[in-house]
Every structure is written in structure tokens, then in C-alpha cells.
């Protein structure tokens, strides 16, 4: 057994495909990005090494700063708006027995399986000032103005709404699974002691959900950092960079502004920020769990 399980050529053959994929599709592009990040390459012609010029420029680039602030805004929006609703809905859904439970759970998740391409175009129509659904809803309530939902002031909120709507089912489902894993005996005990719904929710459900909440919060922050596709189609970072995000910005710089080198420098910083954020969040939550 021992001999068989430590056969080097066999081990090598088993991990080789995984390692090849990693080297070719993850490590190689990162190395190439690091190289191009030090050049003034435009996408065509020759690349010249320019040292840390791109990175110095990046520090003073207000659009990049705006991108990071927007990610922070999204993360706060997810945590303060989407997640409380998702937890409450999950807790309410858990109380429901029978067929309705499955039906509602299914409905909440439907937007999640639809392509961002469809979602972004659909919401473009919903936000349309002339015939969009949102202004029609407002006028049904008696408001007659035509609001431009994608203007510089409103656009980031509109993006947040789309993302909360699209991702709601996912967050809800994870909380729902967490709640299902809570021992029903605890609820019975609480009900014998005469605890009402809110007391049970705050004293039993929420505290026991702590690990699940931590996972969900981590995922919310990371996805806020990585946001690109919805914004790319809905506003493409505009108007005036008010909905800019790091991934979208590096793409624009490389392929629209023909600053391929600069785009790669943004990419390198972006990767570092994502890794730091993941590691930091995991460390914070792990320490807390031990304590």
C-alpha cells in the first residue's frame, strides 16, 4: 500500500494536468502582466521599459481611486441592504412548510441563472427615461417627472440596485442553508420558554449563523472588488468614471485608450489588492472564530 501510494511517476501524472493549466492560464499571464506593467507598450509597435512610471502614474490617477471607492460602496451596499433582507427572507422562508417553500426559493434564484448580458440590457430598458419600467412605476404612483437613472449622480446607485437584484437569490440561498442546519431542538426550547419570533431570530438564529454570515460577507466584498461585466454593459464606467471599476478601467485603458502597458500595471495592482483582501478577511474571521 505504502509503496503504491508513494510512486512518484504516478503522482506526477495525476497532478500534471492541473499544474499545466495553472502554469499556462494563471501564472504565465500574471508574469506577462508584470513585464508589460513596466513598459509603455501601446498594443502595437515596440515596447520600451519605463521602470515604475506606470505605477507612479497610477497613484495619482483619480479614476483608479474612484474605482476602488466604488467597490467599497458596492460592498457596503451589499452588506447593509442585500444581506439583512436576505437573512430575514431566509428566516421567514424556513418557517414556511410544504410546497410554497420550494416555489419561493426557486423564484428568488431565477435572476441568478440569467446571463449578465441579458440582465444589463434589460435594466437599461428599465432605467430608460422615456418608456422604462421604473419611471412608469413612479408615474403609476402619481409622480410625473422623468428621472434619468443613469446620470452622474444616480448611476452608481442604479448599478447597485441591479447587482442586489441579480445576486439576491445566491446570498439568500446560502443563509437559508445555514438556517436549515440549525438544530430544531433549540427553537423548540425557545418556544417552550415563550420566546417570540424576533427574540428567537436575534438570540438563536443570528448568533448561530455567524460563520455563514462571515462567508457571505467575504464573498460580497470580493465580488464588489471584481465587479466588471454588469458595469461594462450598463454604463461602461460612465458617465465621467462615476461607475468605474478596476477591471473595467484596465480593460478600457488597454483596448480603448491603447495604453496596454498601463492597463497591465493596473492589472498587477488589482491582483495584489484582491489577494490582500481575501487573505485579510480570512485572517480576521479565523481569529475571531478561535476567540
Amino acid at each position: 500500500m505504502k509503496k503504491l501510494y508513494s510512486n512518484k511517476p504516478v503522482i506526477f501524472s495525476l497532478v500534471l494536468p492541473g499544474i499545466l493549466v495553472f502554469l499556462f492560464a494563471v501564472l504565465a499571464p500574471i508574469c506577462l502582466s508584470v513585464y508589460y506593467g513596466f513598459t509603455d507598450y501601446s498594443g502595437m509597435g515596440e515596447a520600451h521599459l519605463v521602470g515604475f512610471d506606470n505605477y507612479v502614474k497610477l497613484v495619482h490617477d483619480s479614476a483608479f481611486g474612484r474605482s476602488l471607492l466604488n467597490s467599497l460602496f458596492l460592498a457596503i451596499g451589499f452588506i447593509c441592504i442585500q444581506h439583512p433582507i436576505a437573512i430575514i427572507v431566509a428566516a421567514v422562508l424556513d418557517k414556511l412548510q410544504g410546497k410554497a417553500e420550494g416555489v419561493f426559493r426557486c423564484i428568488y434564484f431565477i435572476p441568478n441563472v440569467i446571463s449578465v448580458a441579458v440582465i444589463a440590457y434589460l435594466w437599461k430598458f428599465i432605467y430608460n427615461p422615456d418608456f422604462g419600467l421604473l419611471n412608469n412605476v413612479l408615474s403609476a404612483f402619481g409622480y410625473q417627472g422623468k428621472i434619468n437613472w443613469l446620470s452622474q449622480q444616480n448611476a452608481i446607485w442604479s448599478v447597485l440596485v441591479v447587482l442586489i437584484w441579480h445576486g439576491f437569490g445566491w446570498g439568500m440561498l446560502i443563509y437559508y442553508t445555514g438556517i436549515k442546519n440549525i438544530d430544531p431542538v433549540l427553537y423548540e426550547a425557545a418556544s417552550i420558554d415563550g420566546a417570540g419570533w424576533w427574540t428567537t431570530f436575534f438570540r438563536i438564529t443570528l448568533p448561530l449563523m455567524k460563520p455563514v454570515i462571515q462567508i457571505n460577507v467575504t464573498m460580497a466584498i470580493i465580488s464588489a472588488l471584481k465587479q466588471m461585466e454588469t458595469v461594462y454593459l450598463l454604463t461602461n464606467g460612465g458617465p465621467n468614471n462615476s461607475t468605474q471599476f478596476a477591471a473595467n478601467y484596465l480593460y478600457q485603458q488597454a483596448f480603448k485608450a491603447f495604453k496596454y502597458g498601463y492597463g497591465n500595471a493596473i492589472g498587477v495592482v488589482f491582483i495584489i489588492i484582491c489577494i490582500l483582501a481575501t487573505v485579510t478577511l480570512n485572517t480576521i474571521f479565523r481569529d475571531k472564530q478561535k476567540a
Binding site: P17, I107, V113, I114, T177, E229
Partner: protein, 278 residues
Amino acid sequence: MKEKENKIGKVVLWIVLIAVAAIQLFPLIWLVDFSLGSSNEMFTNGLLIIPEKIRWDNYVKAFVDGNFLHYLRNSILINTLAVILVVIISIMAAFACQRMKWKLNGFVSTLLVLGMMIPIHATLLPNYKIYSALHLTDTVWALLIPYVAFSMPQGMFLMTGFIQALPKELEEAAVMDGCGIYRIVFQIVTPLLKPSIATVAIMTFLNNWNEFMMASTYLSTPTWKTLPFSVLEFTGEYSSNYAVQFAVMALTAAPAVIVYVILNKHITKGVAMGAVKG
């Protein structure tokens, strides 16, 4: 008193659930509703319309001019291949790192899972260069390689957990019977992992089915383009005919929604298992 409170509670409970369901579904109902009318009917003040005549021809246009079948075929083919590769590669690597005895197992395992932290979109620029240099743009590899690469870390992570939980006795018995490692991996371990394979497959599918950023960067001809492109390329062609645009959006969303509704119990379970662990 208690009973009355219970009744009020029930009503509030239902109101909350129905309100959220309405918010989640109404935009989609609106989409389907307007896709069956004519473009002129959009400029009404009502929330929904009752089309004067139900225009199925919007869908015919969407189906034909949106290249629906071609893109659907590509999506199914590429995603199926990606799922198969991710499952096989991650089972092999996870087994080697989890069960077999060698010095670097911890290091390799961490390395392969590390990919989860890398933002996909940061690799768009360098990968475009690499694929152009190797003449891989506009081939199926330009999608397959990154799809596998960015789903593998999660697959590997989940499989490692699942393999860890398997009892070792079966493998020991297999070794006694003279089984080689490859037979142990593919004939003994893999069948035991069925539910886990379903989870990995569902997560991989959900990750990649709707992906279009890489596809629109690495592909310029329609040969291998996937389903989101019926929407992306259609809007230019019919820019003033909104009703047909709505039809193409509804049509593009339909396969995933239909499959989800049919398999929703399994998918929910898979996502729950995958997400809580991931």
C-alpha cells in the same frame, strides 16, 4: 390572544415573501410581456400591456437573426467539455494531494486552490497576447482553457474536502486485490464521489454558462461565440425595434431558466453544498 398574534404573523410572513418574489420576477414578466407586442406599444403609461396582436414573429426574428441555435450549440459544447475536464483534473489532483504520500502535496494543493483569489478579468490583457501569439484566438481553446483554469481551483477545493471524508478501507481492500492507482481513482473513488461531482459540475456550469467578457476578447468571428452573443450582437442590428430586442433577450435567458426550474432541487442543493464550503 396568542392565536390572533399568530394569524397576524402569518399574514406579515406571506406579505414579505410575496413582495420579494414580485420584485425578483416582475422585470422578467415585463420583458416577456413587451416581447410579444409591437415596438410602438412600449410608449404607454401602464406597467404592462395587452398586445393588440400577439406577435410571435418577434421570436422568429430573434431565433433566426440572433443565430440562436448556433450559439446555443457552442455554449452547450464548450460548457460540457469544461465541466468534464474540471471534474477529471480536480479529482486526479485532489486524490494525489490528499491521499498519496509525497513531500510537496501541501504546496501543490495550495498552489492550485490559490487561483480562486486571482481576479479573472486581470488576465484578459495578457491572455489575449498569449493566445494571439499562439494562434489560439478564434478557436475553441481560447474559451476552454480559461474556463477550465478558473473553475479548477474551486473544483479542486471541493474535491479535496470530499475525498478527505471518504473512508480509506475501500481503497485498502482494492490495493489488496491488486488494483493499480489509476483503477482506484477512476473505478473505486470516482463513483463514490457522485454527489460531489454534481456539485462541482453545477458550480462550473453556473460560472461559465453566462460568461462573455473572455469570449468577446478572444473571439472575433462567430464560429465559437456563445449564447450571450445573440443579445450582444443583435442590439445593433435591430436598434430601433425594441420588441424584437426584448424577444431575443427572453429567448437567450430561456434555456438556463427552464433547466433551472426543472432541476431546481438538485441545483439548489449543489449550490448550497458548494458555496458553504467554498
